[in-house]
Symmetry: C2
Subunit: 115 residues, 2 copies
């Protein structure tokens, strides 16, 4: 038996649309959790840096300078983005690498477009 | 001279894409402000109720029961959605009516889609 890929748990389909009927409580919770993770200028900027990086992936060591924050603070913001399912984290030796979960931003965009 | 329409100040084009280059501080602030307003289950649900209402407009008197909150609490959440530029408010006699700012959710969705 082989272990499942590390990133599998993040590959959820997000979320019920805001614009296609009244959301129930669970749907509203799931969606708000993602938007809340994006509700901070530093996290939005970090996400844009990762999205603009080669392969949509960046080492934490390349994220601190552009946002002007300490590595522990950047790691805290990245943890919230990972917990929200927007970003995946992979440890490679000394450094953590972060990538956008494939398709998640498109899925989130799809919850906002008019029907 | 005539006064500008009340809703004009909300009719801003939102925002710079997350997925098309590194955001500067002002762009990140503007985007995070909108996402923060959506980062609460009650506000997401209220928005879905308005979006599902006829003409994408709802009286505050029709919003309290579906979310099970008091009118002052609903009014507080609606104020945050208005301040974020997502919703417009119009007073008609006794009641406030809320509508989705035309195009704003599509614009916000456009900041997340892959390029």
């Amino acid at each position: 038996m082989t272990a499942p890929p590390v990133l599998q748990s993040h590959a959820v389909v997000c979320c019920s649309p805001v614009t296609a009927g009244v959301l129930d409580d669970a749907q509203a919770e799931a969606l708000a959790r993602m938007f809340k993770a994006l509700g901070d200028p530093n996290r939005v900027k970090l996400l844009s840096i990762i999205a603009a990086s080669e392969g949509q992936e960046a080492c934490v060591c390349d994220l601190t300078e552009p946002v002007g924050l300490s590595q522990p603070t950047v790691s805290h913001h990245m943890k919230l983005l990972v917990e929200a399912g927007l970003v995946a984290r992979e440890q490679r030796g000394r450094w953590a690498y972060f990538s956008i979960v494939p398709g998640v931003l498109d899925s989130l965009a799809g919850t906002l477009v008019s029907r």
